[in-house]
């Protein structure tokens, strides 16, 4: 640990202690938990079984932008997580696989190395697991393992790079997801945003307006109840009463995807017939009280990732602040199951206060991450190998291999 990191950790401890003492002041009755304070981003966690290396991150960047890892090889991770759209997608509901549409808002990849729960439903617990889920989902990448892997193995550049990075003679799909995760961790993590600098003691890093916003955020507006810690999320699930996206009612393709999601996620037929909204956490737990709950999204980089909420129901940060100032909303599930989070109450913010909160959110977002898009490597003709004729196949021992498995 570097000395600076030691100091940082010490600061965090002090801040935690301060908050524990002050929590009762911020929140009176009904506070469900102790809220970790806002904190600077630490070093990105590095899984012991997938350490970060430069070569691996570069390979991951190529794969991130390579359409070979989807069904018809027409879109890549970077199409729904577009660097120019905040490493997300600017439509309320993300584009989907060609011929389909998704049913949720595409979230930014920036800083996701810090998250323990990925997707709005929180149903993936690592970047290594998130990538194949996205690339294989029928309304996302619609890829299939054998074809995707065969495409990598047909690409000389990948054969070379996978060998260098992973030491295998052929690219392996599992390694591809590890490389993509490494790219995201290593190259899409923000450092030294104004919020980080401010929290580390540089009081000039945020404007006076933003500081006022931060104080409201952690105080009167009570955002910190859920948006806390270094990533500004508690990674817990709430039904805040966000309304049903209008697309479900208005667009044929969205209706198809909506029904398909409920069908594919195995809800009881009665609910498949009757529900008209995305039940979020319910699909994981199958408990009615979890219907319409979504994992608190992180707020870092938020200025670049409009629109907001799980289906992009709100277009601007102003609308989001208004939504919470009103104490949230109601939806099908708050009405069916009475499960709207009691945390949300009308806030009584003045216009100036709302502006301050927005200023805080914008300033904490830091600089936009833009980088050159790697060139997609091309397929190649594979060199001839022993095995061209059966006689040759015999010589390299294929018959022995078969008989050893009792198949000859």
């Amino acid at each position: 640990m570097k000395p600076t990191e030691k100091i940082l950790n010490l600061l965090m401890l002090v801040a935690c202690a301060g908050l524990a003492a002050g929590a009762a002041i911020v929140l009176a009755a009904g506070d469900p938990d102790v809220d970790p304070p806002l904190a600077p981003l630490p070093a990105v966690p590095e899984p012991p079984d997938n350490p970060i290396t430069k070569a691996k991150a570069e390979l991951g960047a190529m794969l991130f932008f390579d359409p070979k890892l989807t069904g018809d090889a027409s879109l890549s991770c970077g199409d729904c997580h577009d660097p120019k759209q905040g490493w997300a997608f600017a439509d309320p509901i993300s584009r989907g696989y060609p011929g389909t549409v998704h049913w949720r808002n595409s979230q930014t990849v920036v800083n996701t190395g810090f998250l323990g729960k990925l997707f709005w439903q929180g149903n993936s617990n690592s970047l290594e697991k998130q990538a194949p889920t996205a690339n294989k989902g029928a309304v996302a990448g619609n890829g299939e393992d054998d074809v995707m892997e065969a495409r990598l193995r047909q690409t000389p550049e990948y054969i070379k790079r996978f060998k260098e990075v992973f030491g295998t003679s052929q690219p392996n799909l599992g390694h591809a997801w590890m490389a993509i995760a490494t790219f995201e961790r290593a190259m899409l993590t923000q450092k030294d945003t104004p919020l980080d600098r401010y929290l580390k003691g540089d009081k000039s890093a945020l404007s006076a307006k933003a500081v006022e916003g931060m104080n409201l955020f952690t105080g009167k507006a009570n955002c910190i109840e859920c948006h806390n810690g270094p990533m500004l999320t508690d990674e817990k699930y709430y039904n805040t009463g966000v309304s049903r996206p209008v697309e479900f009612e208005e667009t044929g393709m969205n209706q198809i995807t909506f029904r398909w999601e409920n069908y594919a996620k195995g809800v009881h037929e009665k609910k498949y017939r009757e529900w008209k909204d995305d039940a979020g956490l319910y699909y994981t737990t199958k408990r009615d009280k979890d219907a319409g709950k979504f994992r608190t999204p992180p707020l870092r980089y938020v200025a670049f990732t409009a629109p907001y909420m799980h289906a992009g129901q709100l277009f601007t940060l102003e609308e989001v602040v208004d939504f919470y100032n009103d104490g949230g909303g109601t939806n099908e599930f708050t009405e069916r199951y009475g499960n709207k989070t009691p945390i949300l109450q009308p806030l009584g913010l003045s216009d100036g206060e709302k502006e301050s909160i927005v200023a805080f959110l914008e300033e904490l977002s830091g600089e936009e991450i833009i980088m050159p898009i790697p060139k997609v490597p091309e397929y190649g003709v594979m060199p001839d190998v022993p095995g061209l004729t059966q006689a040759q196949a015999k010589r390299i021992g294929l018959e022995t291999y078969l008989s050893s498995r009792g198949q000859q």
Binding site: V139, V147, E149, R151, G252, Q255, I256, Y272, Q390
Partner: protein
């Protein structure tokens, strides 16, 4: 076990069955009586017309592929014998297209007379015997298969439910709401309607040359060893030594598709093969490398090019190939011997083969299917 230990005759109750090895290895005269007789296709009940209509619409509907880019008719073109003769530039097409992002490594077979396949096939379908042996299953597999249609069956279900035309057709045919299963049944009904109708061989209007050709077919040329029964196929895998179509390995898209399929089927060492392993993919017996399922010979006029890899453009080439005793495949046995046919005999044989094709092509008018999905207007009021 059927796939691994096929017995070509038992299930049809033919007595005195001859084992494949004994017949094919023998240089003795071939007697037509030893094989299921050629003959007209048995009469079958015509599928329900309204169900055929529903199946036809699905057949032409590109929304049956994952990305909406292709339909069944893309590779099984009604204008080309429900197979594919030409590519988009009108050039002969040996190897089939496939789902975007892949390219197939085999020739698209005809769908005409598929309803008879189950009666005469002893192992799985497809050139390699690697797909199911029940038309409904095969339809499902082809729709969901990554390099064919790549569509989740549940998305098919929901796409059908979104289209008022299908909703009406499902109600009419099944008195119920749409489902992928009903869609598959309709596609089966449509394919059941694709049957040879007026082939001279069936109607008895064969020329003298065609009749001479049939004699050769059943005798000197020994075609009947494998091409027998009303479907003109024993449905079994054989190695005739057809040369490789090296485009499978020189075109990276085809090669990667081939590799992905044999990987998927657990074929050992998928990266090293530079030949189509054929039935080996199913049996994993080394002796089955290079064996392919005998195709039907009906409707050949409309379904060029020939062989599993489309390497032969004309029937004349095919007859020449067998006259030579097929190809070489050392050290494995090619199950053929030179035939010593005269030029006139080859001609008669081709004439006979042509008499197995319908005089008027089996085809259907293309159905234009709007690809857009309209919203369900009173969505909030109706049940999903």
């Amino acid at each position: 076990m059927l796939r691994n230990k096929p017995n070509r005759l038992w299930h049809r109750g033919v007595t005195g069955a001859v084992t494949l090895a004994a017949v094919l290895g023998s240089s003795a005269a071939v007697f037509a009586a030893e094989y299921p007789a050629l003959g007209p296709l048995p009469e079958k009940k015509a599928p329900k017309a309204s169900l055929v209509e529903m199946g036809k619409r699905l057949f032409f509907d590109e929304r049956l592929s994952g990305d909406g880019a292709i339909s069944c008719a893309t590779c099984h073109d009604p204008a080309e014998g429900f197979s594919k003769r030409t590519d988009e530039n009108g050039k002969p097409q040996a190897l089939s297209d496939a789902y975007p992002g892949t390219k197939h490594f085999r020739n698209a077979p005809t769908l005409i007379n598929t309803r008879y396949k189950a009666d005469f096939a002893n192992v799985g379908w497809g050139w390699g015997g690697h797909i199911g042996a029940n038309l409904n299953d095969v339809v499902r597999d082809q729709i969901t298969e990554t390099m064919i249609m790549n569509l989740d069956m549940r998305i098919m279900h929901e796409r059908m439910k979104q289209d008022p035309v299908y909703v009406k057709m499902c109600k009419e045919n099944f008195n119920g709401e749409c489902s992928s299963g009903k869609g598959r049944n309709a596609l089966v009904a449509f394919m059941d309607s694709l049957v040879s109708k007026d082939a001279p061989f069936d109607t008895g209007n064969m020329s003298a040359a065609a009749k001479r050709g049939q004699k050769l077919f059943e005798g000197k040329a020994k075609c009947i060893q494998c091409h027998n029964g009303p479907y003109l196929s024993d449905g079994m895998p054989h190695n005739t030594g057809v040369p490789e179509n090296m485009e499978v390995f020189t075109n990276p898209m085809r090669h990667l598709t081939y590799r992905s399929v044999i990987t998927n089927h657990g074929t050992p060492k998928p990266d090293i093969w530079r030949r189509d392993v054929g039935y080996f993919m199913v049996s994993r017996k080394y002796a089955d490398v290079g064996k392919f399922i005998t195709p039907t010979l009906r409707e050949l006029k409309y379904t060029a090019p020939y062989m599993h890899n489309g390497t032969m453009a004309t029937l004349e080439e095919v007859v020449e190939f067998y006259d030579r005793g097929g190809g070489k495949d050392d050290p494995l046995a090619v199950e053929l011997e030179p035939l010593g046919l005269k030029a006139s005999e080859k001609k008669d044989l081709v004439t006979f083969l042509e008499s197995l094709s319908s005089a008027t092509p089996v085809t259907v008018e293309k159905v234009e299917v709007p690809q857009k999905y309209e919203p369900i207007g009173n969505w909030l009021q109706v049940h999903n």
